[in-house]
Amino acid sequence: MTMNVVILKYNAGNIQSVLYALERIGRQAVVTDDEEQIRTADKVIFPGVGEANSAMRYLKERQLDKLIKELKQPVLGICLGMQLMCEHSEENDTQCLGIFPEKVRLFTPQDASLKVPQIGWNNIFNLKSPLFKDVPENSFCYFVHGYYAALGNDTIATADYVQPYSAALHRDNFYGVQFHPEKSATVGEKIIQNFLEL
């Protein structure tokens, strides 16, 4: 039986990129906001580039917020997707899904040479999850974000920009990565592969 992978469709960018990344590793996926298809999927990917408040509003209007929280299969939030799975985001003071208790804050560097948002490749370390199976410590991943999830009990990977923060989170069947595995070369493809094998 082929695996049924769903990419959650909502008003956030880069959904296509995730679809293409899956295709590159030989996997098909369906992009949908249909409740039944999402509930019955083997794996759900919750991508996202955009702004937290309008994304949450969109999810609530379609009751996708409740649906995501109730999912039992492995769910992977990417970038904004991961931040929306946290408790709260400072981005326009947004109450998020609350799957991870970690808070999302704005980078506020003292050092003016550190730009916000962080754009580019940064190393991830303290990797502790099957999500990072065969991914070496300090592998480089591609990040684009102005807000970050603080370190917490759910942190399964750390990155350092301004200060150490959560590069990835895990609780129960929910996983989140702050970086873009779909744009992180072979390292990212490995992480997506690992997620599909969970």
Binding site: S17, K115, P117, W121, F140
Partner: protein
């Protein structure tokens, strides 16, 4: 630690790479997807595709090309050339581009930058500036691929564009472009130190030491080059190794 980025640039005409390339291992050196994939494999951090055809009838060709790139390349890429509307950008992003760059159209209609930023987010809006230092010592903005001079100072335009929502600046010095004598350090530094967004330095990279210089003295966040990579004068792994030896944080693979 956040790395300094190395960006090979590919000029595209009618869907093909122009400026001859010197790669022996490619089946087709004119295919931008194949060349881009090779750079990605070698450790390029992002790719930039600049369409120099940029006429209305070629738009569809570009969209199809972007779609093919997105299917085959596993690192971020920027597409530029002749982009002048939200609709253009929508089509390119739909086909899988991560960022787009705007130049002349944004200068003539600065509202375009804010429209793009609010529609798609600043992270995908790169403002490209072609600039030349005149005899008065000032750096002026040039348009239409460097053919038309304006009275606007480069720094003023960059600052205005960032306020409007540009997420990165791609700065090309016309004085340095093609010379292989090094990047324009002073104007790169002025922008990099005074703007809250990353600055990509372009034009003049000829030796590996030039890259060290633009990252240390120029404070650039990224450096772009074309022919030195196309003609294999410097390979990306070699450049990254060199930069690492000189304490520049770079991504190695």
């Amino acid at each position: 630690m956040l790395c300094k980025r190395i960006l090979p640039c590919l000029d595209i005409k009618d869907g093909r790479t122009v400026k001859g390339t010197n790669f022996v291992n490619l089946r087709d050196a004119g295919d931008p997807v194949e060349l881009g994939a090779l750079y990605a494999k070698e450790g390029a951090d992002e790719l930039v595709f600049l369409d120099i055809t940029a006429t209305n009838e070629k738009r569809q060709t570009l969209r199809e090309l972007v779609n093919r790139i997105a299917h085959h390349i596993n690192i971020p890429f920027t597409v530029g050339g002749g982009i002048s509307s939200v609709e253009d950008v929508h089509a390119l992003l739909q086909n899988g581009a991560d960022k787009i760059s705007v130049n002349t159209a944004a200068f003539k209609n600065p509202q375009l930058i804010s429209d793009l930023a609010s529609e798609f987010g600043s992270q995908c809006v790169v403002l490209a500036i072609d600039t030349r230092q005149e005899e008065d010592g000032q750096w002026y903005v040039y348009l239409n691929g460097g053919r038309v001079k304006t009275d606007k100072l480069c720094f003023d335009w960059a600052r205005q564009a960032v306020q409007l929502g540009a997420g990165e600046i791609l700065l090309t010095s016309m004085n340095h472009d093609g010379t292989r004598q090094g990047f324009a350090i002073d104007i790169t530094r002025q922008l990099a130190e005074n703007l809250p967004v990353p600055v990509i330095a372009s034009g003049g990279g000829g030796t590996m030491a030039h890259f060290t210089e633009v990252f240390t003295k120029g404070k650039a966040d990224a450096a772009l080059a074309a022919s030195i990579f196309h003609f294999k004068e410097i390979s990306i792994p070699e450049l990254k190794g060199y930069l690492q030896q000189h304490q520049i944080p770079v991504r190695t693979i």
